[in-house]
């Protein structure tokens, strides 16, 4: 019987119901869109923030007492420890592999260049390289300095990692000093060993890299006799903000706490996972960048929650207006059903069924619109699509029903107060 009453009552008052449903759709679509974005935000904002640089530096174990100036290790090769190049792919195989946005290996040494034999740092690295990742669904990954320092710009050409030619990119300060331009050749003297590199581009970074010469990793390995070795890896990872739990000493954690910590993309847990796969390495989080990223994500999440709350409140107000009008129109009907003996809970159930129907319809349509809205937000703000998470549908519907219930509470209470004697008299 409720079904019949509900169907017919909705049909006959469809304008009011549509208004209420529209109010719910507006709230639900915003909730659906923002929840969708919220669930993606760590990855999206993490990726955005990765443009501010790597947040983890991986160094050989015990390398912290070595002589390092301007990012270059001045210890002799015999004293210095190195990481293995053939283990680099493992960084994309850790538990949080999808959060590794990029990494690049470095091998630096001091060389003499130019007619005045000036000391300059020569750094070998990967620029934009596709590496195979065995036994993973994604099969390969794009790595290199371009993935961790996208703000670097080059006048001329980038070095092609695959071709392995004797080429160099000069930092703009070095180029100015040597009066070199793209197309020139630069002579490199490493402990009396000479090589000539063709300058393909001039690098602008706004940092100390402008005082260095960059070339293929293999070129520096060949020059220094350190085949298959790298001195440092910079990693850019999407992380979750460090909370109090993240700061707990892991040696004091229970097994359950450790699993929770390990399975959360804190910068410290990702760093540990890198250490686990790179032999004899120390993975050091760059705290300032990590905490700036974390705080930024926290603030964006808070802002989104506030917007969602405002959307819920506005939507509930819309529903309340529509339901109040609807109940005013139905005063006589309520008076009749009270007069023929309806119980209080039967009257509540009658309205709640309508409220739930409005909530479910509004929630489903709102969810659909929200998915579209999330994509618009994703494209406008993050320049990428937002992954659809199935959990958003039930969440949206539950919140939509909640909105209609909150919005209908006062009108339903007023309906229960209707005195049949008065309304049936036509007053």
């Amino acid at each position: 019987m409720y079904g019949r009453i509900l169907r017919k009552s909705i049909k006959v008052r469809r304008k009011r119901i549509i208004l209420a449903v529209i109010a719910v759709i507006m709230g639900a679509s915003l909730i659906s869109a923002l929840t969708g974005v919220y669930l993606n935000i760590e990855e999206k904002v993490g990726k955005e923030l990765s443009s501010y640089g790597a947040n983890i530096i991986v160094k050989p174990k015990g390398d912290d007492i070595s002589l390092e100036i301007g990012g270059v290790n001045y210890s002799s090769n015999q004293q210095q420890n190195f990481l293995k190049e053939d283990e680099l792919y493992k960084i994309k195989k850790i538990f949080w592999k999808y959060n590794i946005l990029g990494f690049s290996p470095y091998l630096s040494t001091v060389v003499k260049v130019g007619p005045e034999n000036e000391s300059v740092v020569l750094t070998g690295t990967w620029f934009d390289k596709e590496i195979d990742i065995p036994d993973e669904a994604f099969k390969s990954a794009r790595v290199g300095v371009k993935t961790i320092a996208p703000w670097w710009t080059v006048d001329g050409e980038w070095i092609n990692d695959e071709e392995n030619k004797p080429e160099a990119i000069l930092g703009s300060a070095v180029a100015k000093q040597l009066e070199n331009r793209a197309g020139d050749t630069v002579s490199i003297n490493y402990n009396g060993k000479m090589i000539e590199l063709k300058v393909v581009g001039i690098l602008h970074t706004g940092g100390e890299e402008e005082n260095q010469i960059f070339t293929n990793l293999a070129t520096v390995q060949g020059l220094t006799g350190l085949q298959g070795k790298v001195s440092e890896i910079k990693v850019s990872a999407a992380i979750t903000p460090e909370d109090d739990f993240a700061k707990k000493d892991i040696t004091q954690m229970t097994k359950e706490e450790y699993i929770r910590w390990y399975c959360t993309p804190y910068i410290s847990s990702i760093a540990l996972q890198i250490e686990e796969v790179i032999t004899d390495s120390d993975a050091l989080p760059i705290e300032q960048i990590a905490s700036a990223q974390g705080n930024f994500i926290k603030k964006i999440k808070l802002m989104m929650m506030l917007i969602t709350l405002v959307a819920v409140a506005a939507s509930a107000l819309g529903v309340m207006t529509a339901m109040t009008t609807s109940i005013l129109e139905r005063r006589k009907e309520i008076g009749v059903i009270k007069a023929i003996g309806a119980r209080t809970n039967q009257i509540i159930a009658l309205f709640m069924a309508e409220v739930a129907a409005i909530g479910v319809i509004g929630g489903i349509i709102g969810y659909g619109l929200g998915i579209g809205l999330a994509q618009v937000i994703g494209n406008a703000v993050f320049n990428s699509t937002v992954a659809i998470n199935v959990i958003v549908l039930p969440v949206t519907i539950i919140i939509a029903i909640g909105i209609t219930m909150i919005g209908s509470m006062i009108p339903i209470r007023n309906a229960l107060k209707i005195d049949p004697v008065i309304v049936l008299r036509g007053e």
Partner: protein, 225 residues
């Protein structure tokens, strides 16, 4: 108090806003199976009395015993339950749910009472001569037909008493006659009927005529059917 009285009011008073006395120390007794008509000029308190007997309103003073229950002591929900079980209401304006069919309007009363029984609802509409109008909404029924649906709705839960407020007030003579014939039929079957009316013709029907004036009974007389 006589044992076979189904409705008894004792010193019943109703006062609005502490000053307007609508019912003044009213004592009425209606026997089981009796048809009593209540007449009186506007403002004499007939509708107020009917509302109190219907358990829709409460008196300011006095007591009302219906079917052995002192109804003035009941809570709001208990009054609704009592009404559901014991009283069938027929209104001058019919008060049908406009978007439900004749059959659904009758079934609605079943729904709020206990369980919906479509066959029983159809039979009751047959009884009031509307077997052919089951699926019509009120707007597609004449006034007389709407009132007959309203009577079927009042009868569906087999109440002990049928209370009607100006049941023919909005009807032409022909339709009014159909409704009154229906009441006669119900009375013969043993229903207790109380009708509030302005219509002197109805006043001549039934077992008793209770005249009200300024909230009191005057010249009560027994009529013959």
């Amino acid at each position: 108090m006589e044992k076979n009285n189904i409705i008894t009011t004792m010193n019943l008073s109703k006062c609005y806003n502490g000053k307007t006395l609508v019912l003044d120390n009213l004592n009425i007794a209606i026997k089981k199976g009796e048809w009593a008509n209540i007449m009186g000029p506007s403002g004499s308190g007939k509708t107020t009395l009917l509302n109190i007997l219907s358990c829709l309103d409460r008196p300011t003073d006095g007591s009302v015993i219906i079917n052995g229950t002192e109804v003035t002591r009941l809570s709001q929900d208990e009054m609704a339950a009592f009404r559901r079980e014991n009283i069938g209401l027929v209104f001058q304006q019919y008060h049908l749910i406009p978007y439900l069919t004749a059959l659904e309007n009758v079934m609605l009363a079943q729904h709020f009472h206990s369980m919906v029984d479509e066959k029983e609802a159809k039979d009751t509409l047959e009884l009031v001569g509307l077997g052919h109008r089951l699926d019509h909404i009120p707007a597609h029924l004449s006034g007389g037909e709407q009132q007959r649906v309203s009577i079927a709705r009042a009868l569906i839960n087999q109440p002990a008493i049928i209370l009607a407020d100006e049941p023919t007030g909005n009807l032409d003579r022909a339709n009014g006659k159909i409704i009154l014939d229906l009441f006669k039929k119900l009375h013969k079957k043993g229903h207790t009927i109380v009708i509030v009316t302005h219509d002197p013709e109805i006043g001549t029907m039934g077992d008793r005529l209770i005249r009200l004036m300024d909230g009191r009974t005057v010249n009560e007389k027994v009529t013959a059917l």
